[in-house]
Structures are given as C-alpha cells and as structure tokens.
C-alpha cells in the first residue's frame, strides 16, 4: 500500500514539474485542464530525465532533493503569476449534454484505456527490447543511485543498442527511486499514462478544429487500433516517442494556424524530447523542420521573421537533443543494426547501392497497410481517401499534413536501404521485427490526416 501511495506521489510530482515547464512556455495562457495535465505528465518525465543527465555532466548526485529544488522555488512563483482557471457556466454545460452515440464512443475509449492499464500492470517488464535495452539500464541507474560516471564508456556497452537515448531507463529508475523499491510491475504504469496523454492531447486538438463529436470519433478510432493499444503496455520506448511526436506536430500545426510563438516553442520542446527518447525522433523532427521551412517559404512569403522562427524552432530542439549526440559520437556508442557512431554522409550514399531491397521493403509495407489484425482498417481508409482526394490532399493547409506523413513513410522505408547487412543476410528479418513498431510513431498523424480530409469532404456530420 505504501508503495502505491509513493507511486501516486511520484506521478503527481512529475506532473507538477511538467506543469511548471508548460506554464513557463505558455505563460499566462490556459489550456483545458485535462490537456494541461496530459502535457504536464509528458513534459515532467522528459525534464526530470534531462535533469538527471545534467547532474551526470556536472558530476552531482541526482538525489530527490537536488532534482526537486529548482521546482520548489519556481512552482510558487508560477502559482502567483498564472491566471485562475475560469469555470464553465451552467448554460454551456446543458448545451454540451452527451448523446447516446457520444456515450458509446466515450465507453469505447474508456474500455481501451482500462485494457491498456490491465495489460501493463498484470505482468512485470518482460518484452524483448523492454528488458534488454531499457529495463536493465534502469536497474543500473537505480542500484547506483543515479547515472554512474563510467556508465557511457563502460557499463552501457555490456547491453545492446547503447546509442539509444536514455529517457526511458532514467524515467523507470526515477519511479523506482521514488517508490524506494525495485518494483518492475508498478513501473509499467508509465506506459498506459502516456496512452491516456496521447488520447487527451489528440482529442483537444481535434475538438478545437472539428467539434466535440468528430474529436470523439477519431480519438476512439485511434484508441481502438489494436497495435496502438498493445504498444501502450509492453515497455517499449516507441510509444513514448509517439506521444512526444504527436503532441509536437499538433502544436506545430496549431502555430501554423494561430501564429502564437509559444505554440512553436512548445512544439520544439516536445520534438526535442522525441529526439531524447529514440533515434527515430531525429527523423521525425527533420520532417517537421522541413514542413516548417515550406510553410515559412510559401505562407509567410519568405518573411525574415518567419525564418528567424524556423531558426528558433531548430535551435530549441538541438539544445535538447545534441548533448546525447555528442556522447554517442565521443564514446562511439552502438546501434546493433547500424554499428557505432552517428550517421555520416557516406552512410547516406550507400542507400543507392541497395535499391534491390525496394521490392522487399514495399512488400512489407503493404503487409502493414492491409493488415487489419494490427491496424484495423485505418490504413485502408487512408489509402482510399488519399486516392479519392489526391488534389485536395496537396492544397491549402492539407498539403503540410500530407507531406509530413509522406516524408515520414518514405524516410522510414529508406532507413532499410541504409542498413548494413552481412553477406546473403535477408533484409526482411529486420523489417518484419521492426516495421510495425515504426508505424506506431506516425499512426496518430495518419488518423489526424483522415480526420482533416473527412472534415473537408463533409463526412463528419454523423
């Protein structure tokens, strides 16, 4: 019982820290309460792990007191500055009464959320990457009371994929340290909480654009994708990456619509945290940066202010992501598939030597697109709508969403062209064990795209 109380306290403290960061970015602006909580949880986890890393850089022990100290000072200041939340009037509440269909959708979402928690908490960490890459490092951090000074040049190389950023293992060790116990059952609560956070952020983004009913429909659709729910409970960092990327692109599009700089900064912080979660975060960030560049060039007519905002965006992401790249490069940390160090231009050229892999890659991609067991029919809907709305998909605001999705799909496909293989080793072994995980990263973007097209075609009046 005491462990559970400490766990709840840990999550509350994490969210409060995240809320402080959110408030510093959004300043006096208030978002809906649940959206703030969802963002706070994600930002809190990210910031705490960055703090732990900073303590390692300056050779300080990341005790609970050291981590919480800056926030003990910042939190009361923010409470003082932040405007009080306005209540919703009774007449508005009456107008927003739920219909039977809305109740059905909410029930569907609730069932998926419950199932995510159930699947996560019924068994300890046990999945392949979950323990081999992340949980074992979390154990090292917990036993050492922080990141040991020789961790990156000695200890981490004992385990596979040492070049993976350590957000997840540090998060797990933070939970262990707060609970005061190495409980590899309760620590899995991290993942279904990210599941709720994605759904909440996604819902409010859609609600602002399309109204409550449509937001509920597509949030339900996202929640009910089998592979999406499965990955919210098995201990892989892919789902955490999905949260940061999803929230990142939603706020990027929000900035494109409203031009509020704070949304751009928030997007940059979230995408920076995606780079801090998994290496694929860099690919997702680069795709977003390119879309932003296009937007500035086309919509802002190449104004100097627009390019300065682009530089601000990129700089914010680099501040968060580059320290890890420096460590990987300096200590020559490894990725089992790609070898040691970071990507160089010479690696990019090897893609042209491996074009014979394209048919195999295309085959594996179509297995995902037409695989209802993992994805329900979301990819079939996407392909059908894409074929029927080819012109509309590349017009106006839609073109940025379409291009972002296509860049990411193409980018992820081309990754398999870069992969070095031993002689006569087939590429499909790697694709079949990783592609469905990569699809998770941009599934919310796909559902967002489908929702946007349905809105344009008038399908949302159900």
């Amino acid at each position: 019982m005491l462990e559970i109380i400490r766990l709840i306290l840990c999550l509350a403290v994490t969210s409060i820290i995240g809320w402080c960061v959110l408030s510093l970015i959004l300043y006096k602006e208030r978002k809906p309460l649940f959206e703030e909580i969802a963002l706070s949880y994600g930002l809190g986890m990210g910031v705490i792990t960055l703090e732990a890393m900073l303590f390692w850089f300056v050779n300080l022990k990341p005790t609970l007191f050291n981590i919480l100290l800056p926030w003990i000072i910042i939190f009361p200041i923010i409470i003082f500055i932040k405007p009080k939340r306005q209540g919703v009037s009774l007449s508005v509440r009456v107008r927003e009464r739920l219909h039977l269909f809305d109740i059905f959708l909410l029930s569907g979402i609730a069932i998926e959320v419950f199932y995510s928690f159930f699947r996560a908490l019924i068994k300890p960490l046990e999945s392949y990457d979950g323990i081999a890459i992340y949980a074992v490092r979390a154990k090292v951090f917990y036993e050492a009371g922080g990141i040991p000074q020789d961790f990156f040049n000695v200890i981490t190389k004992l385990f596979p994929n040492s070049s993976y950023p350590p957000l997840l293992p540090i998060s797990e060790s933070w939970i262990y340290a707060f609970m005061g116990n190495f409980n590899d059952l309760l620590v899995k609560i991290i993942f279904p909480l990210y599941f709720i956070a994605i759904l909440v952020v996604f819902y409010f983004a859609l609600k602002e654009l399309f109204g409550r009913r449509s937001a509920l429909i597509f949030t339900f659709i996202l929640a009910a994708i089998p592979q999406f729910n499965k990955f919210s409970s098995i201990g892989y960092a892919d789902f955490i990456l999905t949260f940061y990327f999803t929230a990142g692109f939603l706020y990027l599009f929000n900035w494109m619509r409203t031009r509020r700089v704070r949304y751009l900064i928030l997007s940059a912080v979230l995408l920076g945290l995606s780079c801090w979660t998994k290496t694929e975060g860099w690919a997702l960030f680069l795709a977003c940066a390119f879309i932003l560049f296009l937007f500035v060039s086309l919509n802002l007519k190449g104004e100097r202010k627009g390019y300065l905002k682009l530089i601000l965006f990129i700089s914010a992401v680099l501040v968060i992501g580059l320290p890890w790249v420096h460590i990987v490069d300096t200590v020559q940390l490894e990725n089992e598939a790609y070898g040691s160090g970071t990507f160089g231009l010479n690696r990019l050229f090897t893609a042209f030597l491996n074009l014979d892999r394209c048919p195999r890659i295309a085959y594996e991609f179509q297995k995902q697109f037409f695989g209802p067991k993992k994805w329900n029919i979301i990819w079939i809907i996407f392909l059908a709508l894409f074929a029927l709305n080819l012109k509309k998909a590349f017009k106006g605001e839609m073109k940025y969403i379409t291009l972002l999705l296509l860049f990411i799909i193409a980018g992820y496909g081309s990754v398999y062209l870069l992969m070095p293989l031993k002689e006569s080793e087939p590429i499909n072994i790697y694709i079949s064990t990783s592609l469905s995980r990569l699809f998770i990263h941009f599934t919310p973007l796909c559902v967002y795209w489908v929702a946007s097209v349905c809105k344009k075609r008038g399908y949302l009046e159900i």
């Binding site: 046990e126 392949y128 090292v140 385990f159 009910a224 329900n376 399908y459």
Partner: protein
Amino acid sequence: MKLAKTTLIIWVFFWILFVVRGLYKGEFREYRALLQRDAETKRAYIVGEDLYEFLNFCLMNLPRESSYQLRGELKSIDERRLVYYLYPHKKSDNPEYLLCYNADRDIVRKSFYKSAVFKTGQFILRRRAD
C-alpha cells in the same frame, strides 16, 4: 454520410472481432493464470518455471558482482532476461563463472571446475585459480 456511417460500423465490427479473437486465442488463459499469482510467481510464469528456478540458484551461489557467461540451450529472449535479472552480476568475455543451463557435460573446460550443481544439465562452473 452513409459511407462514413458504414465505415464506422465496419470499424467497430473489426474492433470487437479482434479483441474477442485475441482473448479466445490465448490472452484470456494467460490473464487468468497471471491474476492468480503474486509478483514473484508472475516472474516465474513469464520467464518459465524451470529457468526461473535456475536463475534463483545462480543468484544464491554467485558472489556479489561476479562476471559470468551463459552456456547451453537458451533462446535469445531467455538470455536477455537472465542478463536483466542477474545484474549487478555482469556478462563478460573473460568470465569468472559459466552458468550452464540444459548444457552437455562436454561443456566443462580444463580451466573451469563445477562449483555448484542444481540438477542434471544445470550447473555453475568456476574458473580455476592460476
């Protein structure tokens, strides 16, 4: 509008189908087995009872933070799990101990001797002092 409603109905149909299918195909059995267990027996269930007993045997017989290598018939996932549960004992290319699970007697080397035996095919070898 009709197309959108039909698509949503098809979606809900597949949603229910795959949840029920998953439960029927084995998830329900696994959940029922796990709900009846405490944390320790859950780990044993996930790892495999036999391997888990061997793991506990190793944890009892290895001095703190010793280096080891794994030998015998082990699936890749089982190796990863052993590495995880055995930490702070560390896997090494030049180990003090060889942890032999479902291994042949022929695995014994001149430079190692049997320091502890759990059952047939499951034992720990220790490096001889020079």
